[in-house]
């Protein structure tokens, strides 16, 4: 990881110097060792550009604002493979001006979930070294070690693959995480429960929501100029306690709004302060779409057509759920 970080920093400098880009979109160190934050870099501060296994943030969403307007220059964006799917999806929806972005693909062998590290008792993390799939975690209390595979983010366990579906160049080589999980394992587990158990599970999860809207803010598909939940004419915009409809249905409605557009980037679950497994809602919709209407990956190409704005004459009837779906 150290090596790639060096390569990226050098390349970023080159791009800025040659004028190929006016700004670099990447990550810089945050307050702690494990929370790098998105930042824009110019020649003055490009030395602060970092890339490590805590860089889970999907940067594609920042390009929406950045490429608006005639005055904006060219941005070189560092995108991991999963980020490039979001990038393509936003291109499909005409939200990003492709000409203003130079996509630099960066290899990724999986991002770390700091909660999993903490759950192992690794406190006071100062830094991480990786070698051959093994992590050496430098903490205030000494060095600890563990296999990288065991502390990967949920979404990395079922990685879509190391290939960048949109890029102008790749720095370093393309990598893939050492994990081959079933993307729909969580969904299938829930489906196998009884309806009562399913309901209890979701009630337990969704009742913890504090409506911080972090999931919405982080989600690349949730990039509307004015969100439905802020639009008084949508019939479901209200803050906090004034209208219980929105409170109760927020998660289902949001899942539906991004259906067919969600690239399964996992940001929603990553940013939720309450740890609600929102990806289980989105993946359920993806699984249904795959099974009923053919495999579809949003953002695989910059011009793909969401299954929710397509149809065939032989589509399944809605009563198909009596034969499939969850256990009875």
């Amino acid at each position: 990881m150290q090596r790639i970080s060096e390569l990226i920093r050098t390349r970023a400098g080159e791009l800025l110097e040659s004028g190929a880009a006016d700004q670099i979109l990447g990550w810089e160190n945050g307050g702690l060792a494990y929370d790098p934050t998105p930042a824009f870099f110019t020649a003055d501060n490009v030395a602060g550009l970092v890339y490590n296994s805590f860089c889970g943030i999907n940067l594609s969403k920042y390009l929406i604002e950045k490429t608006k307007g005639k005055e904006s220059g060219k941005v070189a964006a560092l995108l991991k493979p999963c980020d490039t799917y979001s990038f393509n999806q936003l291109l499909c929806e005409h939200r990003i001006d492709r000409d203003k972005v130079y996509v630099v693909g960066v290899g990724c062998s999986g991002m770390l979930d700091v909660e999993k590290l903490k759950a192992r008792g690794f406190k006071g993390i100062k830094g991480i070294d990786e070698k051959d799939g093994r992590l050496t975690v430098h903490t205030l209390y000494g060095d600890k070690s563990c296999p990288k595979r065991e502390v990967l983010m949920e979404r990395c366990i079922s990685c879509k693959g190391g290939g960048h579906v949109a890029c102008d160049e790749v720095v370093g080589e393309e990598l893939t995480p050492d994990a081959a999980g079933n993307r729909f394992a969580g969904v299938e587990k829930l489906e196998s429960l009884s309806p009562d158990d399913r309901f209890d599970f979701w009630r337990g999860e969704l009742s913890r929501c504090i409506r911080c809207n972090a999931c919405r803010n982080a989600c690349p598909a949730c990039s509307c100029n004015k969100c439905v939940f802020d639009n008084s004419r949508s019939g479901m915009a209200a803050k906090a306690n004034s209208d219980d409809f929105e409170q109760n249905m927020f998660h289902i409605i949001r899942a539906f709004h991004v259906a067919g557009r969600c690239t399964d980037c996992g940001e929603c679950s990553r940013v939720c302060p309450q740890g609600i497994p929102l990806h289980l809602l989105n993946r359920k919709l993806i699984k249904d779409v795959n099974e009923l209407y053919g495999d579809y990956q949003a953002g695989a190409a910059p011009d793909s057509r969401s299954p929710l704005i397509s149809y065939t004459q032989g589509d399944a009837e809605p009563d198909v759920i009596y034969e499939r779906g969850g256990a009875r």
Binding site: C92, E93, H94, N225
Partner: protein
């Protein structure tokens, strides 16, 4: 806050017998915004409409709710009344407390409670209504008639006589349809060709009528007043403008083994052929599947003998694109296939024939030159059995549930024609009922029994089987309460009729609704029998339901009148309940554009000022004239920028809230 007037209709006793209308009017008086609430006997009457107009003026109403029959009945009536009093017609909402309340439920308390809820729902929606203004669109002064049988010809003539351009598109090489195949017509026993062919000639000669024969409608887009239609003119392989109609080509054609469609397969025709002698246009067609030249490259005799040089083997299908203001469907019918009726022996014996085949056998221009001869051995039949209701009125799943309407009359006609020409023939008719509702129909049928000694037996035929060169007919005689067996020489099946097979795909192209039997549905079964619910599409003839020639001609004229009423307009008031996008909220994601069936949405770049910043944004723009108001875009829009006037998101939510209160 709106000032709402509520009018609860008794509809005589239709509503008042099961719904306590006074209680409904009372219950909604306390709803927010309601300043006036009454019940009245007949809201759609002059008195009722005046009540609305007076209330609007006296109480300064800004919105009106009428609790009455279905909006599909009288929404327009009440809208016009409101407009006459100076209120925007779209500030009117209807609560359906008749078809969906008083006529469904029996218990008065339940029905009244439901009526109150429906009234509240309409009031809640009305509070969010906006005074919409209808846009205008042009009317193309040309009509399209699809189908060139008697219905299509009559409609086209009537429209053309009013001075409007009409095009007839007919699938077969000639106009005339099924009527041209008939021998005589009931109840007058007129010769079908004699009354039809002058009409066919008139249609061809009329300055306002254009004929597209051997053509099919391939694509229809657009909407009332402005349909864009693609017509495929199939290649006849003959240049119509050069052909003189001499007929030498079909005489010389060596390929003579193709069954003639016009003769229902009872005789053969050549590969290059004119369907019948009086065909219009009198230009032959080469059946490329039967033509030796097209199959093997050898022959070409017709081109050699044609003195006008009209044969053109290279001719291709041509697509013609035309615009029309109104479309009339007149696609007609065909007899059903009989494979589910094996008990009548149709497939096994050539002497078991359908009624249309029998018609050809009687016809002087038919396969036997008008002599009634058995198809098997060309002998004269001595005993003929007619079987009615073959495939009609059937609830066994094999045939059609409906009555085909024309069979009782034509069977009586056939029986009398036989007895007229060959008085010593024994003629039996097996019937379930004899239906003769038209003018002079009953007298006609009784002549067959009383004057011509046709044996009418009430009973069904169980089986027809060949035995020793005869057809053994086993049947029941219900009035005599016994089984009978007749050895017949010919059996004629009064086959059920069904809509032409092209009707369904045409219905999809026009988005004109059809029922399960593939008959086109009318806008209202009693009051609007010649209009499809789809604006601008009219119905003429059997495509709408089984009927005989007098009814067809009557309906054809009615359809023409409706079409002319549309074509006469200088402009059409559109439907103002169209979609619209709020540019401030629109992302420019193009999802709405992808789902619009009419291509009514495109994208433009607009300067948007928000939070003091000016930005050039790509936003959706709806063409009001093209939008039909389905709402697909509204639901697809992720940001909620798109909304549908008249059925806005907040309006529907208000209705949901009012019901679930």
């Amino acid at each position: 806050m709106q000032k709402v007037g509520v009018f609860v209709c008794w509809c005589g006793s239709n509503i008042a017998a099961t719904v306590d209308v006074a209680a409904v009017a009372e219950a909604v008086r306390s709803e927010p915004g309601v300043v006036y609430s009454i019940d009245y006997q007949y809201m759609c009457s002059e008195g009722g409409q005046s009540a609305i107009k007076n209330a609007i003026q006296e109480h300064g109403l800004t919105g009106v709710v009428v609790c009455s029959c279905s909006p599909r009945m009288h929404e327009n009536t009440f809208r016009k009344a409101a407009a006459a009093a100076g209120l925007n017609p779209y500030m009117v909402e209807i609560a359906n407390i008749r078809e969906q309340c008083s006529w469904i439920h029996k218990d008065m308390e339940e029905a009244t409670q439901k009526a109150i809820i429906l009234a509240r729902t309409a009031i809640a929606k009305l509070h969010l209504n906006s005074p919409l203004v209808a846009g205008e669109s042009e009317v193309v002064k040309r009509a399209l008639v699809i189908g060139g049988g008697i219905a299509g010809i009559q409609t086209a003539q009537d429209i053309a006589d009013c001075g409007f351009e009409v095009d007839i598109v007919e699938r077969s090489p000639t106009i005339g349809g099924k009527m041209a195949q008939l021998d005589k017509t009931f109840p007058t026993l007129d010769c079908a060709a004699c009354i039809l062919t002058p009409k066919m000639v008139d249609a061809a000669a009329h300055e306002h009528i254009g004929l597209y024969t051997y053509s099919e409608v391939e694509e229809v887009s657009g909407f009332v007043g402005n349909f864009a239609v693609k017509i495929r003119q199939k290649a006849r392989s003959v240049r119509g403008e050069l052909c003189s109609g001499c007929g030498v080509c079909s005489g010389k054609c060596p390929s003579k083994k193709t069954p003639s469609e016009f003769d229902q397969g009872l005789s053969n025709r050549s590969a290059i052929y004119i369907p019948f002698a009086q065909a219009i246009p009198n230009v032959p067609v080469i059946d490329r599947d039967a033509c030796i030249k097209f199959k093997t490259g050898k022959c070409g005799l017709c081109a050699k003998v044609c003195s006008a040089g009209a044969i053109d083997y290279e001719q291709q299908d041509e697509i013609v694109e035309r615009r029309y203001g109104a479309i009339v469907v007149a696609t007609g019918f065909k007899p059903i296939a009989l494979e589910r009726y094996g008990e009548y022996g149709y497939a096994h014996s050539p002497d078991v024939v359908t009624s249309l085949e029998f018609e050809r056998l009687c016809n002087a221009a038919g396969p036997t030159k008008g002599k009634l001869l058995r198809p098997s051995d060309h002998k004269k039949p001595k005993t003929i059995v007619f079987i009615q209701c073959v495939g009609s009125r059937s609830d066994d799943g094999c045939g059609k549930t409906y009555c085909s309407k024309i069979c009782c009359m034509y069977t009586a006609k056939h029986a009398m024609l036989v007895k007229e020409k060959y008085p010593d023939t024994e003629v039996y008719v097996f019937y379930i009922d004899v239906r003769t509702p038209g003018k002079n129909f009953d007298e006609f049928q009784r002549r067959a029994v009383e004057q011509y000694d046709v044996h009418y037996i009430k009973g069904m035929v169980g089986k027809v089987a060949e035995q020793n060169g005869h057809l053994r007919v086993q049947a029941s005689d219900l009035l005599a309460d016994r089984q009978i067996v007749i050895d017949a020489d010919m059996v004629v099946l009064a086959t059920a009729i069904e809509p032409d097979p092209t009707a369904r795909s045409l219905g999809t192209m026009l988005t004109a609704s059809m029922d399960q039997n593939d008959f086109f549905t009318e806008a209202h079964p009693k009051l609007r029998p010649v209009e499809s619910p789809t604006a601008g599409v009219f119905l003429s003839g059997v495509c709408q339901g089984p009927k005989d020639i007098p009814e067809t001609v009557a309906q054809a004229g009615a359809a023409a009148a409706k079409a002319v009423a549309l074509l006469c307009k200088s402009k059409l008031l559109g439907n103002p309940c169209v979609a619209g996008s709020d540019s401030m909220l629109c992302n420019g994601c193009s999802y709405c554009e992808s789902v619009c069936p009419y291509g009514a949405i495109d994208y433009v770049y607009k300067d948007i000022i928000e939070h003091g910043k000016k930005e050039l944004r790509r936003v959706a723009r709806v063409n009001d004239a093209v939008c039909q108001g389905c709402g697909a875009c509204t639901v697809t829009c992720p940001s909620g920028a798109m909304d549908l006037k008249g059925f806005t998101t907040v309006q529907i939510m208000a209705e949901v809230d009012a019901i679930c209160r």
